[in-house]
Symmetry: C2
């Protein structure tokens, strides 16, 4: 059976050249970057090259790049590390209602530690309420953490405007951006956007799993999350994952060179599938920004009267792999906080499918997906609801 | 120039089959284990297979295996996580003076958080003072953390006896073992040794970097270090490094099947190099256990009158790669705490070279190393010390 993967926002299949770079580095540059001899220096060179590339893409210094085990660790490290370092300065934290669990859960934990957490709402399209944000920032505000692209519905926040607004209101408030779904797809300038901390995950842009990045402005202090041998200037202990980082370098180069072309391709995919579904299947609607807006690689559609999980498995039986909401919270049997946040009614919290597109997605595939969707949706509605939605 | 790598305790060159398994998994099982569809299930299967293998090697349940980014994270997660979970029960922590920085630094941090840290000394060979340990454990003792094999001098602690002793003195005291240098080289039964938490790093036994394991007894609670999407039963958030774990599985299989053979090989290497050096180069001595004892893959030799770093680079110029103490603390310009702990005099704190052996080490290589060592040591002593040590 044909297999159609439309879950690129959960994880991408790494580029062949990424897999090769990882395997080659495992065998050739196997030294420990902390070792003082040549093998250590060779391994360290890979870290330096990758930091150089990342710093060029983000508009920061190579020294401002910290390697982590992934986006979740980067988010935790940024938020927990900053709060530990500045806990005596201020105690108010601000975030949005549509953040990834690795931000929201971290803030929940900090709330139990005496921090005040203020959660700013979003509109129907998932856009942050900037007025509410402006009002919320005061002299007690230590940190604002806002994601760039939402992982479930693809809303793109105006991080440049948000960064400006934060610093205008309180220049001592730090700005963290979860760029896990945007890095490699949208250009980001940390200086222009006044970003102090920014999280990246390699496996979201055709790099390896188990590798992430935290950009940290050199003038910002964070306490370590993980203590030990003083690697990465004492901020993140543990032997660096050199082969994974070598793989990420390839993925960075690819993303940098193909960003426009790929985005145009994703946009075509999104428009095509969205039109096919909305025009041919009744009682369907887009969650989040209009099809022409938002991140080009994410399309979230609600199918009234059908449980996401049921439709997901019906599609799976046809070789189509999609997600109900985000993979990252699929382990938990909770309804999407993002769909609640954009104001979906109770009956529209549990019928959403996230389609996310990648470099290998073709319109031919999407045509098949649209057909199967129509077929399965009609079938499910007929049988599970006695034809109520026919 | 011939290259001779004798820094296997810092990191190993992964097996070819490990590198291949990682690359293959990157391309074939690229799904996110949290995804509900087939690609997610395929990825999850790799986690399950690896947990099964690890549980058999450790004598625990597959459910007691948690994947981390490496040994340092495992040590931090065990210690910080346990202390956070049980901080109301007891506040005294015990460790030894020869632990890895990822344990010692974590304990230093906990000291600033109100925990009492008691550090037990070791004898000349690095063996823990069991009497002092027994005396130190009281009803206030929450945790004892002792490493299995020392990374700098190769001392092997009797963890079965230590585990028994701890539980006999206080059955509610938890026992954490840093097994980073022993797993895959020595058989370990967590039940027999009364171990509640145990740390493993894949890249120390020919597995990939960026992958570690924490064994956690199912009845023991730890708070997460990293918050997020509820992966790994909510204990360690973040998308699992499936390809890395697939590589570790290969390394586990290899270690399990070749343990005895490899240990005998390491022992032969250790005896050979130690005899060659001690017999032919004056003013040299073993740091740690006698050559016939201790871990077979680690040999630490002091060269009187020569700074470790100078000898390290002299050997490097001959294509020989060794370590001065441990790679993990080489970034810091501090003298070895391990050598202080075993009672070395001030002049013998900074002249140690750690030779660590691997599957590819040959006696022919070691013969060359012994020759070069003699040549370089004589040369350095002649020039840097005006012949004082001739």
């Amino acid at each position: 059976m044909k297999e159609i993967y439309l879950d690129y926002a959960a994880t991408t299949r790494p580029l062949q050249e990424v897999a090769e770079a990882v395997a080659v580095s495992m065998i050739n540059t196997y030294g420990n970057p902390s070792s003082l001899h040549k093998k250590g220096v060779e391994a360290e060179t890979i870290l330096k090259e990758t930091s150089d590339k990342l710093s060029k893409m983000l508009g920061c210094l190579a020294d401002e790049i910290i390697y982590t085990s992934g986006g979740t660790e980067s988010n935790n490290m940024a938020i927990l590390g900053l709060c530990a370092a500045y806990k005596r300065r201020a105690h108010k934290l601000i975030t949005s209602s549509v953040e990834h669990p690795s931000v929201l859960e971290t803030f929940k934990y900090l709330q139990t530690q005496g921090f005040e957490v203020c959660i700013i709402g979003v509109d129907k399209e998932g856009m942050l309420d900037l007025e509410a944000l402006q009002k919320a920032i005061d002299k007690e505000t230590l940190l604002v953490s806002i994601m760039h692209v939402n992982n479930e519905i693809g809303t793109v926040q105006d991080i440049e405007r948000i960064g400006g607004l934060i610093k205008q209101k309180n220049k001592d408030t730090f700005f963290h951006v979860d760029a896990v779904q945007s890095f490699g797809k949208a250009p980001i300038s940390v200086k222009k956007c006044n970003i102090d901390l920014l999280s990246i995950s390699a496996h979201k842009f055709y790099g390896p799993r188990g590798v992430g990045v935290l950009y940290k402005n050199k003038d910002v202090r964070i306490n370590p999350l993980i203590y030990g041998g003083g690697q990465q200037k004492g901020i993140r202990a543990g032997t660096e994952n050199v082969p994974g980082i070598a793989g990420m370098l390839k993925a960075c180069n690819y993303a940098d060179q193909n960003m426009e072309r790929l985005n145009a391709h994703y946009r075509t995919c999104k428009m095509y599938l969205s039109d096919s579904v909305l025009e041919h299947i009744p009682d369907t609607f887009i969650n989040g920004p209009d099809k022409s807006k938002g991140a080009p690689h994410i399309l979230n559609i609600g199918f009234r009267g059908i449980k996401s999980e049921v439709l997901l498995h019906a599609l799976e039986s046809k070789g189509i792999y999609v997600s109900s909401g985000s993979a990252c919270s699929s382990n938990k049997k909770v309804k999407s906080t993002v769909l609640s946040a954009i104001g979906n009614k109770k009956e529209d919290l549990d019928n959403a499918i996230r389609f996310s597109f990648g470099m290998d997605t073709s319109l031919e595939e999407l045509s098949y997906v649209a057909d199967k969707l129509e077929e399965q949706v009609m079938l499910l509605r007929k049988y599970t609801l006695g034809g109520r939605h026919k």
